[in-house]
């Protein structure tokens, strides 16, 4: 507020007066706080932290490149809640399947991510409804509408992994099989964006989504999609905010939502994000689907921000973790190559064989899920999935790099060290001026090869599939995709 005033071409005195006025307003606000409703316990130190998977427009999604600033209906509702509780809003983005583990691990106070209210989820968490919704089955434009879910027998259906659609479709499959029909082939993809793409490129017959989501896609893709059927699915009627089980918190959240409903905040937001606009749901043109290759769909996937973002993360994770790995591995390799026996050497040998033998997935999981339990400092927000990945992969890769370095150091003729020390060069110079430059040349090709394979095999999938979130969430389906 004060900085805003300082931009105005006012006299010094007037500016001071204005600043004072600002402080008065702020104090009045603080006064109001004293009378405000009690703040739920998940608001900690004046911060409301929510976990969200910003891949479900218009509820929660990322526009442009900045993954750390998702927007959408959910984010605005969260902001309205934070305002009510005089709290600052902090939004953590992650892969969908990481949301509930993060809620349990107290990384956030609420999960707000366009998630359906289901009795199954309510076994572990409390839920508060804030928006109605319905499930839709969507196909390419030109696909005839369906009259019954039975018509999907034997067809391939794309769904976002980690969502409850999978279970629901599983139930429908059970009835199909019981009726002697082939089941639907359910294919999972980590982001909604990719789910839609599978339909556009014709890999799957249809995808399952929510009405609110579909509206957004329709707006983006024009008339390329159309609703095949809106089945009446039990337990599929509401979006809910999830919190750790706590009756008092649930009641306070419920009353805050009711208040936002009453004062018109929610309905204003629904209009802003077109959440209730159902006008584009129908209107299928009965034109036969073009079977031609859709270049646009391919290139839009290739140049999508999600893909580019994933590629960028891939490269930076590969490079950063290797720079760290190389830095760690050089002194380790020197110690291991020295002829003397020492305790340090035994410890380092253990380090190298442990991290070479243990599966990378296990190490990722260990760093992300176990380390925060031993050291509370890793529970804080700065410890992002991105950092966790860098840490885990640096340690893991350093173990491989040690082997490359050791081989390179042994490949340097021992006469080099002899010749250098006969000239009176210091240990430091012997290493930096004589041995390292030669070992570096030997180690370079295998190192580059390793970085390349690493980026190609592990990370491209980790990061492509988590693209659109804040990095590589490791207790999620993304690693699942990578390592199986």
């Amino acid at each position: 507020m004060i900085s805003f005033f300082s931009f105005l071409p006012l006299t010094r005195h007037f500016r001071l007066a204005a600043a004072l006025a600002g402080i008065l307003v702020a104090t009045a606000g603080l006064h109001g706080l004293a009378q405000a409703e009690p703040v739920p316990s998940f608001v900690q130190n004046g911060v409301l932290t929510i976990c969200t998977n910003p891949t479900l427009p218009p509820m929660t999604f990322v526009k442009g490149q900045d993954v750390s600033h998702p927007e959408g209906f959910d984010i605005d509702v969260a902001q309205a809640l934070a305002n009510r509780w005089q709290a600052r809003l902090s939004v953590i983005t992650m892969d969908f399947t990481g949301l509930f583990p993060s809620l349990s691990a107290q990384r956030c106070g609420l999960v707000m991510s366009g998630i359906i209210r289901t009795p199954a989820r309510e076994k572990s968490f409390d839920a508060v409804t804030y928006q109605d919704t319905a499930l839709v089955v969507v196909g390419r434009k030109g696909t005839p509408s369906l009259t019954s879910m039975d018509e999907l027998a034997g067809k391939s259906i794309a769904v976002e992994s980690g969502t409850s659609y999978i279970t629901r479709l599983g139930l429908i499959n059970d009835t199909l099989v019981a009726a002697g029909k082939p089941p639907m082939i359910i294919q999972q993809y980590p982001t909604e964006e990719q789910v839609v793409q599978q339909v556009l490129i014709g890999r799957v017959f249809a995808f399952v989504s929510q009405d609110v989501e579909l509206f957004f896609r329709m707006r983006q893709l024009g008339d390329k999609l159309h609703v095949l059927i809106t089945p009446d699915i039990p337990d599929y009627h509401h979006f809910a905010i999830y919190l750790r089980p706590n009756a008092a918190d649930q009641t306070q959240l419920q009353s805050a939502i009711s208040a936002l409903e009453t004062d018109g905040t929610l309905s204003a937001l629904r209009t802003k994000w077109s959440v209730t606009d159902q006008s584009t749901k129908n209107g299928a043109a009965n034109v036969s689907a073009s079977s031609m290759f859709d270049w646009n769909a391919f290139f839009s996937a290739l140049t999508s921000t999600a893909f580019l973002h994933g590629a960028l993360i891939t490269l930076s994770v590969a490079l950063i973790s290797h720079i760290i790995a190389i830095t760690i591995s050089v002194p380790i390799a020197i110690v291991l190559n020295s002829p003397q026996k020492s305790v340090l050497k035994i410890v380092l040998e253990g380090y190298v064989s442990l991290f070479r033998a243990a599966p990378t997935l296990l190490q990722l999981l260990f760093i992300w899920n176990a380390v925060p339990q031993f050291f509370p400092i890793f529970r804080e927000q700065w410890f992002t999935p991105f950092l966790a990945t860098i840490l885990a992969l640096s340690v893991n890769e350093s173990a491989y790099q040690v082997e490359i370095n050791r081989a390179a150091l042994s490949a340097v003729d021992p006469g080099q060290e002899l010749g250098a020390s006969a000239l009176g060069l210091s240990r430091r110079d012997i290493y930096w001026r004589v041995i390292f430059p030669q070992a570096f040349r030997i180690a370079l090709p295998p190192t580059i090869k390793r970085i390349y394979q690493f980026a190609k095999n592990y990370l491209s999938c980790v990061c492509y599939f988590t693209a659109g979130t804040s990095g590589c969430d490791t207790d999620t389906g993304c690693t699942h995709f990578c390592f199986y």
Binding site: A422, G424, S426, D429
Partner: protein, 250 residues
């Protein structure tokens, strides 16, 4: 740096032994080398010649006995860098740095150890490269040179540190006959300049020509120390006689 005690030996070795585990590589050796003296070390393979000259610049530290160089007692307290500025060494396999050019090989130690400026070090290096007969190879890399040329670079590199003692460990053993002639002529020249030299070699003619004394070793022991004319004509021991018979048979 001129001492008044110039009659003091440059190198003085007393009761020096070197062990590799249980194996006695040097067995209580005693000898002196005067200033400017040329010593050639002879002996069958495995007799400890390399080990002996490596103890002189402490690349192999001795275990028992005393070593004095230029009046200074050399032991674990000696600054190895100071010692190696004083004692230069040339190896059988040259041990040039393959990632550096000939000139860079020569100026690395003067700059890093003696803190000479690049200009100073380069001028010095060019002088010694000229002396060893390869002034025009300064910008080449070691692998672009023949074995003989590489050994000349190694000699120039050692001379650039301007040592008071030069150690040679079979400098011609890896060279073909033509190259040997060239390197030997450079060593002849160095000998004339009066630098104290301890040289392990199998070049009998060269030994005869330049050596002031011959040290003959066998099984880690010094068997005899004699002037070359005596050694090559009437060696004192049977072992030396046997060695010479073998060497001269070819």
């Amino acid at each position: 740096m001129q001492h008044e005690t110039t009659d003091l030996p440059m190198i003085s070795v007393r009761g020096m032994s070197k062990l590799f585990g249980e194996f006695v590589a040097l067995d209580r050796v005693d000898f002196d080398v005067s200033r400017g003296e040329k010593i050639v070390v002879l002996g069958p393979s495995g007799s400890g010649k390399s080990t002996l000259i490596r103890t002189l610049n402490r690349i192999e530290p001795h275990d028992i006995g005393t070593l004095t160089i230029n009046g200074k007692l050399i032991n674990e307290k000696t600054d190895p860098i100071q010692l190696r500025c004083m004692v230069g060494m040339v190896f059988q396999n040259y041990n040039l740095f393959p990632h550096l050019s000939v000139l860079e090989n020569c100026i690395l130690a003067p700059m890093r150890v003696k803190h000479m400026s690049r200009i100073e070090a380069t001028a010095l290096a060019r002088r010694y490269l000229e002396q060893v007969g390869i002034p025009d190879q300064a910008d080449k890399y070691p692998i672009q040179l023949s074995g003989g040329q590489q050994q000349r670079v190694a000699i120039a590199r050692a001379l650039c540190m301007q040592p008071q003692v030069m150690l040679f460990d079979e400098p011609t053993a890896a060279l073909d006959p033509e190259a040997i002639v060239g390197v030997v002529s450079i060593m002849d020249e160095l000998a004339e300049q009066g630098i104290t030299t301890v040289c392990v070699t199998h070049e009998m003619a060269f030994s005869r020509r330049i050596a002031d004394r011959i040290i003959f070793m066998d099984q880690g022991k010094i068997v005899e120390i004699t002037p070359p004319e005596t050694f090559f004509t009437t060696p004192k021991t049977d072992r030396a006689q046997n060695f010479l018979n073998q060497m001269l048979r070819y």
